[in-house]
């Protein structure tokens, strides 16, 4: 069986700048893989390539054995890949529940005419995705349920907006979740909660997860496997301990001298 997500020899340049240079990466079904690396290493670019926002210059990206080359982002999402954004790109002026329901567009089918006349299929689908949205929001305990369903997304606190990003990604019914720095900007308690949540996303939600994270406590707590990038090149791969002690990784994060001293 092929891995759920496979990148082979992927390259991407912006002008003369090589951002991703011959990257090989795979994520197996049910795995949690962390992507780490210093700022500018090309981590978010990997997400943009996988989700089709950028097209790779060279190389092959396959999801569940199927090449995603040439597919627009919304079709790739329909295959079963959903992402969150590092910079939080919620639909701020829509309600919390609508944010999640909007992501269900890809797996609902009611036509414009059916929706305008509220024909049975449109009504049934509406009920289903409303129920689905409530379920996904219920994943975060009491934080995004009840009266919060109908509040605009902009009214949420920062941490809750991060959670809503994840709930929205879940709304598109993915097999693979790409989480871009889910714990960024959170306090230690919230970071701890996020670590637990990512574990539950796999065990209870059944998602396979590729996560970009800077917080090494989170990375240590969740990862089956860690992949380290620097300047668009994979410099290390393996368990957290292996990668964390890898000389190249230490050098990339702290500089050459620190690596020698260590």
């Amino acid at each position: 069986m092929p891995p759920l997500l496979q990148l082979q020899g992927v390259r991407k340049s912006f002008g003369g700048l090589r951002v991703i240079d011959g990257l090989n990466l795979h994520v197996d079904e049910g795995e949690i893989v962390s992507l780490i690396g210093p700022n500018g290493a090309g981590k978010t670019t990997v997400f943009n390539l996988v989700t089709g926002i950028y097209a790779a210059d060279d190389g092959e990206i396959a999801f569940a054995g199927r090449s995603t080359a040439g597919l627009p982002p919304h079709k790739i999402t329909r295959l079963g890949i959903a992402r969150t954004f590092q910079t939080l790109r919620l639909f701020l002026n829509m309600t919390v529940k609508e944010n999640v329901m909007a992501a269900a567009y890809g797996h609902t089918k009611a036509t414009v005419v059916e929706s305008m006349l509220r024909l049975p299929r449109a009504r049934r689908e509406e009920r289903e995705i409303a129920r689905m949205a409530e379920e996904k929001l219920g994943f975060f305990g009491q934080r995004l349920v009840g009266y919060r369903w109908d509040q605009p997304a902009y009214s949420l606190s920062y941490a809750n907006r991060r959670r809503l990003e994840i709930a929205r990604a879940m709304g598109s019914n993915p097999r693979l979740l790409l989480l871009d720095e889910p714990a960024a900007g959170m306090n230690p308690a919230e970071t701890h909660e996020m670590t637990e949540l990512i574990g539950r996303l796999r065990t209870d939600g059944g998602y396979t997860i590729l996560v970009i994270e800077h917080d090494m406590h989170v990375v240590e707590g969740i990862s089956d496997r860690v992949v380290a990038l620097d300047h668009g090149v994979k410099i290390a791969e393996g368990s957290f301990e292996q990668v964390a002690t890898n000389e190249l990784v230490v050098e990339a994060y702290l500089g050459l001298k620190a690596a020698e001293a260590g």
Binding site: I53, F91, M94, A102, S115, M116
Partner: protein, 493 residues
């Protein structure tokens, strides 16, 4: 794939009486609510309206509108009833494109014109074609939707200002085409050039002709009710959510399985179809179409309707159309000039009441202006009687009072010009002053404005109408920048 399975018990909404604490989520969430309570009359109306569910609003609107033909003459029904409903339909079409999908379409009027002209061509002596509306209306709607699609295809990658320019060009090209290009087809000018197309058939369905104003009005009302219902359902469906999502953030929408380009095209085509349908009714009701009907002024009017009502709000479109059409009719040239005068002075009073606090300052400004006028008029009368010998234009309830308050010289052409320039200078000066100096300077400025109004604008009703209309919009938008029923858009930085 089932995430979690069960939904945890929702926490109760924060207690009404307990003061929310700063920094707590609820507090942030309810900022909006608290701000609303301080919004005065408009805020109260907004809150009351929120308790009336949309079906009840529609029923109320239809019930009130349905009584119009019972107590209105034919002319009034045409000017107030039919035109308001036409504006509602135009606003609804534009609202789909601008309000839902967030595409700044400045060529929307061209779809309206296209629909009207196409209906005219298929139901007039122009080519001797007299198809029944049962056939023409669906055909026109489909053709306009197709035109919307065609305009959308090159436009779908354009954003914001660029899209606005391209669509504005399209709108102007349409007017130019029907007015000046007027290609010869089958021996005669296709669009009739500046003369347009006249003697258009009334709408007829299955042999039943909508000939009287009353029938036309009820048909329009039915159409408005159906389209409002359909749009309400649509906005609460996957398509409506997808439109709002792409308005909020196209990239995130695309990443959330929404085909952004296709939905933009759909919005264009959908808005165009409604405009085309409105064009059919417009052409059949007016029985003539000319290029002048589809110019920039109408575009501005329709944008004013949508923006005034609150972008994205269906009820807002209806209220916007009513307000705008009523103020048009109120200021119409055939109505007494005193209407415009009344509106002018009411606007000044409204603006003062809204902007000046505390109350004693407001009273001081009012009193100051009234006393200043009375004193200046008496003084000038005593010193140079010819300076107050002018006649107040068009009598009315207010004219008598104004005549003893504002100085209007006999033969006041030059005086009016000087007064106008002084007013501009006074307003500029006013912006440089602060505090009490501004309040004091406000008194002569308002008096000067009244003088300018009575000596120049009252004599040019066409100009005065538009100036007043603009002032009305500006003052309403100052009170509620998000429109009467709109919700303020929030960006987090």
């Amino acid at each position: 794939m089932d995430a979690g399975g069960t939904i945890p018990e929702p926490p109760a909404a924060p207690d009404e009486r307990e003061r929310p604490r700063v920094g707590v989520d609820e507090w942030v969430a309810r900022v909006e609510e608290r701000r609303e309570t301080h919004r005065g009359l408009a805020g109260v109306a907004h809150r009351v309206l929120r308790f009336v569910p949309p079906p009840a609003r529609l029923a109320l609107f239809v019930a009130v509108a349905a009584t119009l033909p019972l107590w209105m003459g034919r002319g009034d029904l045409f000017a107030y009833g039919i035109f308001t409903l036409l504006y509602v339909l135009l606003g609804l079409g534009l609202n789909v494109v601008v309000g839902y999908a967030g595409l700044l379409d400045l060529g929307h009027i061209a779809f309206f014109g296209f629909g009207a002209y196409l209906y005219a061509l298929l139901s007039s002596e122009q080519y001797g074609i007299h198809w029944p509306a049962t056939a023409t209306v669906p055909l026109v709607v489909a053709a306009t939707a197709l035109l919307g699609l065609l305009l959308g295809i090159p436009s779908r990658r354009l954003l914001g200002d660029y899209l606005a320019i391209v669509t504005l060009f399209f709108g102007q090209a349409f007017v130019f085409f029907v007015n000046a290009a007027n290609p010869t087809v089958a021996g005669k000018g296709l669009t009739g050039g500046p003369n347009g197309i006249a003697d258009i058939d009334p709408l007829s369905f299955f042999g039943y002709e909508l000939a009287s104003r009353r029938q036309q009005f009820y048909f329009l009302l039915l159409a408005v009710a159906l389209i409002l219902t359909g749009l309400h359902f649509l906005s609460e469906s996957r398509t409506g959510r997808a439109w709002r999502a792409l308005r909020e953030d196209p990239l995130a929408a695309e990443a959330m399985s929404i085909p952004v380009n296709r939905l933009k095209l759909l919005a264009f085509a959908f808005g165009a179809a409604i405009a085309g349908f409105t064009g059919c009714i417009f052409a059949s009701v007016l029985t003539a179409v000319t290029a002048g009907n589809f110019g920039i002024p109408l575009l501005i009017t329709i944008y004013a309707i949508v923006i005034l009502g609150g972008v994205g709000s269906l009820t807002g479109v209806v209220i916007g159309a009513v307000v705008i059409n009523m103020s048009f009719q109120f200021l119409a040239p055939e109505n007494p000039q005193d209407n415009a005068r009344l509106l002018f002075y009411s606007l000044i009073i409204l603006l003062l009441v809204l902007t000046i606090r505390p109350l004693w300052k407001l009273a001081a400004v009012f009193g100051g202006v009234v006393v200043l006028g009375a004193v200046v008029e008496r003084l000038v009368e005593a010193l140079a009687p010819s300076w107050t010998g002018g006649v107040v234009v068009e009598g009315g309830r207010l004219a008598g009072a104004v005549g003893h308050w504002v100085i209007i010289p006999t033969g006041h052409g030059r005086f009016a010009n000087v007064a106008y320039v002084s007013l501009v200078a006074a307003v500029l000066l006013l912006t440089r002053l602060h505090g009490n100096a501004r309040i004091v300077a406000l008194v002569p400025t308002i008096y000067l404005a009244a003088v300018v109004w009575e000596t120049s604008f009252v004599e040019q009703p066409a100009v005065a109408r538009w100036i007043l209309f603009g002032a009305l919009l500006v003052s309403l938008m100052t009170v509620r920048p998000q429109g009467l029923l709109g919700t303020p858009r929030v960006e987090i930085v």
